[in-house]
């Protein structure tokens, strides 16, 4: 369904992505793990072209693009079929929870206000924020902000949802409420890509794990293959350090 090939990206002289290949099937829940700074976030952002690779190709069902020849319509088509949940939430600060979730439906999808509101209220209920509907971001906790971000992503009914470390800027006691919502989302069958440092969580919700290291995919397999019998010393070392940290 989604296939990235030979993605290369550099920021200045630093080569961040060094020929990444990744393919995702419909219904997959793929977790991307790896040391800090290896380009996991950057890779996710290449999919919706928030990060602009120097070369490589993407194909998303029938949409195809070569990053050396960026194509506005292809980028827009991909953006309309994906949604992203950000590490820093990035909830629109000038809008209430309800407006945040409704706005893309009204502005981008040109739905009527009534229809957008109905969909928005449904997704807000799903993430348990009904009582906070009319609150502004400045009045919400981190966990509530991230659940707003998830509701906004779900409301656009994306084919693929991209989670970029959705819990890593949360206070420890708020992580649980967000993981619960993500688990509910991923088990509903929507294709998901999740960058995370929550190893136990990745293991429990994913059907595939991708281990990234130094700008390439260093291992790719089922949770059992990756966690129980790591194929490379780098992976084993990484898993060890993550577990000892937790």
């Amino acid at each position: 369904m989604l296939e990235l090939k030979d993605i290369k990206l550099a920021y200045g002289s630093a080569q961040i992505l060094n020929g990444v290949d990744l393919s995702v099937e419909r219904g997959d829940v793929v977790s991307i793990i790896g040391p800090s700074g290896t380009g996991k976030t950057t890779l996710l952002k290449c999919i919706n072209y928030l990060a602009k690779p120097a070369s490589g190709t993407i194909s998303f069902d029938q949409i195809k693009m070569d990053y050396q020849r960026p194509d506005k319509t292809a980028v827009q088509a991909i953006r309309l079929r994906t949604a992203m949940v950000f590490q820093q939430f990035n909830v629109f600060k000038n809008m209430t929870v309800l407006q945040n979730v409704m706005d893309p439906l009204v502005v981008v999808q040109r739905k009527s206000k009534e229809e957008a509101k109905e969909i928005a209220l449904h997704e807000i209920e799903r993430v348990g924020l009904t009582s906070r509907c009319n609150h502004y971001p400045s009045q919400l906790s981190g966990g509530q902000l991230q659940r707003t971000g998830i509701a906004r992503a779900l409301a656009v009914r994306p084919d693929v949802i991209l989670f970029d470390e959705p819990t890593s800027s949360l206070d420890p006691e708020l992580v649980g409420e967000v993981l619960k919502v993500i688990k509910d989302v991923t088990s509903s069958g929507i294709t998901s890509l999740l960058v995370t440092h929550e190893m136990q969580f990745a293991k429990s919700i994913s059907n595939r794990i991708v281990f990234m290291d130094r700008g390439v995919v260093a291992a790719d397999g089922s949770p059992a293959e990756i966690f129980d019998s790591p194929s490379s010393p780098r992976l084993a070392q990484f898993l060890n350090s993550e577990y000892s940290f937790q």
């Binding site: 072209y49 629109f92 600060k93 981008v108």
Partner: protein, 238 residues
């Protein structure tokens, strides 16, 4: 001639002062919008020229900018073979518009840049067009950030309108001097006092309008009642 006759005479010059202020406010705002856009979206050569304009408007004393406008603009139009249509009033409007535009662009540009990068990312990722993103997300947040600076720039503009008498525009300040000369400098203190009150009222009105928009902004916590906030702000300002 007594003090009470002097007040209406001073006020008769107020429309011109206001006309110059409003012209500079509107024209300066448009200039600032264009200048900020060009400085953010770096167009080669043009953006550099705009940089020079902004640094001129911000670093040259406003009196000097008025002289430059008054003596320079006729030369400029003569170059193009047009007749000189620059009265002191028009020169004052043009000079202050240029000053205010340059000054204001250094309020707008930082306000735009202060909007979190993540807000752009979120809007882009959801498929907002550039215009939709600016009008619905980034613009409103930049306005919220920029409003206090905008209020200051308006107050500086009002103060600087008092300088137009140097190029011979008959605003309230110039009128005050006329009155004093004619009356053998009898009521200097009173005249200046009335002038001070006029400027204070103008600035207070400007400040209240800006404050109203600040409090109306959705990024302001809605439970904070606008009226009590204005009262508090007035007290702390006094």
């Amino acid at each position: 001639m007594d003090v009470s006759a002097m007040i209406p005479e001073l006020l008769s010059a107020l429309p011109l002062t206001l006309a110059i202020t409003f012209t500079a406010m509107v024209a300066g705002f448009c200039l600032a919008l264009v200048a900020s856009t060009l400085r953010i979206r770096r167009v080669p050569v043009i953006s550099n020229l705009v940089d020079i304009y902004v640094s001129y408007a911000r670093s040259v004393p406003v009196v000097l900018q008025l002289f430059v406008a008054f003596y320079g603009l006729p030369l400029l139009v003569a170059l193009f073979g047009a007749a000189d249509f620059f009265s002191p009033n028009v020169a004052a409007m043009v000079g202050l518009s240029l000053y205010h535009g340059g000054y204001l662009s250094e309020v707008m540009r930082p306000a735009y840049l202060a909007v979190d990068r993540g807000q752009h990312d979120a809007a882009d990722s959801l498929g907002y067009t550039f215009r939709q993103k600016i009008f619905r997300i980034v613009g409103p947040q930049a306005i919220h950030i920029g409003l206090p600076g905008y209020g200051n720039s308006i107050i500086y503009l009002i103060h600087n309108v008092a300088l137009v008498m140097y190029i011979g525009a008959a605003d309230v300040m110039a009128t005050a001097h006329l009155i004093m000369e004619r009356d053998y400098n009898q009521y200097q203190f009173e005249t200046y006092l009335v002038l001070a009150v006029i400027y204070s009222v103008l600035c207070l009105i400007a400040w209240l309008v800006i404050r109203f928009f600040e409090l109306r902004s959705p990024m302001q916590a809605p439970e904070a009642k606008a009226t009590t906030q204005i009262r508090h702000a007035l007290i702390s300002n006094a």
